[in-house]
């Protein structure tokens, strides 16, 4: 018997006669949040990332100001290409979660490949206000599982030394977020 058939047969024997289980979903699937932008900004800031909240019209100038003099990867546009010598990367995102201060990339247009937002030491991410949802369930509902997804909550960190949080190990050590309103 193949390993596959044997494992499946063993499972069948192990659970024979067991009752099935209903799944209660009494948890919140959405929340009333007065100020989504404010809550998201506060929660991102808690991870010691840099946060700006700006009207949409002022965003391009702010990006130019931040990236000036840096070798930046700009997915879908002109910019530095070599991952290893780039100073940073600037992307958009797919969804953002206010309650947890999380940005989700689905690596669609403007979001680059997974490596482009990983290898450089600095990540600037532009989040549109209408991309912010209140909690995790709404984000899951908006995302497409067929795409590769990267959920980012603050800069790279470790708590492996005496459980003290240290920002910056292998991923970008600096995360900067512009919320465009």
């Amino acid at each position: 018997m193949s390993a596959r058939d044997e494992i499946l047969a063993r499972i069948g024997r192990a659970v024979a006669g067991a009752q099935d289980v209903e799944i209660p979903r009494g948890y919140r699937t959405t929340q009333q949040v007065e100020d989504l932008v404010g809550l998201f900004a506060e929660r991102v800031d808690d991870y010691r990332a840099i946060v700006h909240v700006l009207p949409a019209a002022e965003v391009p100038a702010k990006i130019d100001e931040i990236v000036a003099g840096r070798r930046m990867i700009r997915p879908g546009g002109d910019g530095w290409e070599d991952l290893n010598t780039a100073d940073g990367v600037v992307t958009s995102c797919a969804v953002a979660i206010a309650e947890t201060g999380t940005i989700v990339l689905d690596h669609g247009p403007g979001q680059g490949t997974r490596a482009q937002t990983l290898v450089p030491d600095y990540h600037l991410c532009v989040v549109r206000a209408d991309q912010i949802v209140s909690g995790v369930p709404e984000a899951i509902a908006r995302l497409d599982p067929a795409r590769p997804l990267t959920w980012i909550s603050g800069p790279s960190a470790t708590s492996d030394i005496e459980l003290n949080r240290v920002e910056g190990v292998h991923g970008p050590r600096t995360l900067e977020v512009i919320i465009s309103t």
Binding site: L8, R13, D20, L118, L149
Partner: protein, 463 residues
């Protein structure tokens, strides 16, 4: 190469006795477990629907386990459709064989690894080494353990037993090109690890990972991490091999909305861990292989009481609140799964044939703190008690329990026995002789009263 737990001698009481004499270890453990316990409590307290999430998490896992065969087949179909290859492994040897052959087929002799409990459980690194393949751990704590030729002692923070100055010593001794003036400041130590691994990430062609979750409906694998070493391994190499226990399955994409709230808050005490990667099949030109691992899980599934251990999402909250773990440390459990969850999982996965494994169900005071914090409501005390009944017992203990059962079964027998005991009370020694001494080595014999309560009642109330 880090050391292996297989065939570890001793038993829990002996290992624990040694460990509690190490005051540095106790200090490190107390500091670390109390820090994370506080963080967990505060972020769990932020969610008004925590108990509802916990109930959903429990039910989703139970439903999955009940229908595991069907969902595994669905997972296989979804991964295959998305360009991945699925392999099935009955046990550790078969899984190791599959992984070694896949690595050899690439022509590579070095692989990078994401922290994974499943690959530790099957002792993959040693199996690969025997085939001439070097596996490099990339998680900071795993790196500390591997460089120190040490055992992991915590599910989430394998080097929890090491403090910063011990870590500095290990780096200075074992890490090539580390600066001599390395301090024991945690950011400096993290920077050293970053430099040490960067080149390796960029040139590695093969990576091996586990997964926190896999979704049957979509074929998606999910890895939660903090440092970015996981993203490096999952993203950069040409070939990715994921070894995943069959119980890691979730039926639907939607179920992630529950577990992505339960796991980070229970585990690191954060609202969300820094990085979560999700991928479905072969992505961005990668070769993807999924190895589905049984290795004793179907035996656990067959046990009506014990099967709830398969709900475990490896958050380690139960370790951080356990008074026994806090004092004995992870090594005393002699397994990659220490603490309360290890005390019920290890004897079920490995059987209770060895002294060590038979002693694990006793590595608990049954205080129940582990059950309280468990995000999928595993009733660890219930399983511990059930396993104690199943563990092998000494002939003297079995005979004693038989006699006690016979006496307690009939009130006239009990009354007679109590009167005999009262008369002989002056003769009872402080410690019992022969094989019975095992009982009194760790307990005082309770004082026998001059008169039993039954007799006192008879004399006072009936009159």
């Amino acid at each position: 190469m880090s050391a292996t737990f297989l065939g570890m001698p001793g038993n829990f009481p002996k290992n624990a006795e040694k460990a509690v004499q190490n005051s540095q270890l106790r200090f490190n453990l107390r500091k670390a477990t109390h820090t994370i316990r506080g963080k967990r409590a505060s972020v769990v307290g932020e969610l008004p629907d925590w108990q509802e999430l916990r109930a959903a998490g429990k039910a989703i896992k139970d439903h999955t386990l009940r229908n595991l065969d069907r969902y595994l087949v669905q997972m296989e179909e979804a991964v295959t459709r998305a360009g991945g290859t699925v392999h099935w492994a009955r046990d550790a040897a078969e899984a190791n064989r599959i992984v070694a052959d896949l690595v050899k087929a690439t022509g590579e002799t070095e692989v990078v690894k994401v922290k994974s409990m499943a690959t530790q459980e099957i002792n993959l690194n040693d199996a690969l080494a025997a085939e001439g393949i070097t596996a490099y751990e990339t998680d900071l704590a795993e790196l500390i353990v591997q460089l120190g030729d040490d055992f992991p002692s915590h599910i989430l923070v394998p080097a929890i037993h090491r403090n910063r100055s011990e870590i500095r010593e290990i780096f200075l001794e074992k890490m090539p090109k580390v600066p001599d003036n390395l301090t024991d400041d945690p950011p400096a130590l993290a920077e050293a690890a970053r430099l040490h691994l960067r080149e390796r990430f960029l040139k590695s062609k093969v990576a091996i990972s586990g997964a926190n979750f896999m979704v049957a409906e979509t074929g998606t694998l999910v890895v939660l991490e903090s440092e970015g070493n996981g993203r490096m391994c999952l993203t950069l190499p040409r070939t990715l091999i994921s070894v995943v226990g069959i119980e890691k399955l979730l039926p639907s994409w939607r179920d992630l909305e529950v577990f992505l709230q339960l796991l980070p808050r229970s585990s690191t005490g954060e609202r969300m861990n820094p990085y979560t990667s999700m991928w479905t099949g072969a992505v961005e030109g990668q070769d993807f292989h999924l190895v589905l691992l049984d290795n004793g899980r179907t035996d656990v599934l067959a046990d009506e009481v014990g099967r709830q251990a398969l709900r475990c999402i490896r958050c380690s909250a139960c370790l951080n609140v356990c008074p026994v773990y806090e004092r004995a440390g992870g090594h005393a459990y002699g397994s990659v799964y220490p603490g309360p969850i290890g005390a019920i999982l290890t004897p079920q996965l490995r059987g209770m044939g060895s002294d060590l494994d038979a002693s694990l169900p006793y590595a608990s005071s049954l205080c129940g703190a582990c059950y309280e914090v468990c995000p999928v409501a595993i009733d660890i005390p219930e399983v511990l008690v059930d396993l104690r009944a199943k563990a092998p017992h000494a002939a003297a203990e079995r005979a004693g329990m038989k006699v006690a059962g016979w006496i307690f079964n009939d009130h006239t027998r009990l009354a007679k026995a109590q009167r005999v005991a009262t008369r002989l009370r002056k003769l009872v020694p402080k410690r019992l002789p022969g094989p019975l001494s095992a009982w009194t080595d760790t307990r005082d014999i309770p004082d026998i009263p001059e008169e039993s309560f039954r007799d006192w009642w008879e004399r006072n109330e009936r009159a």
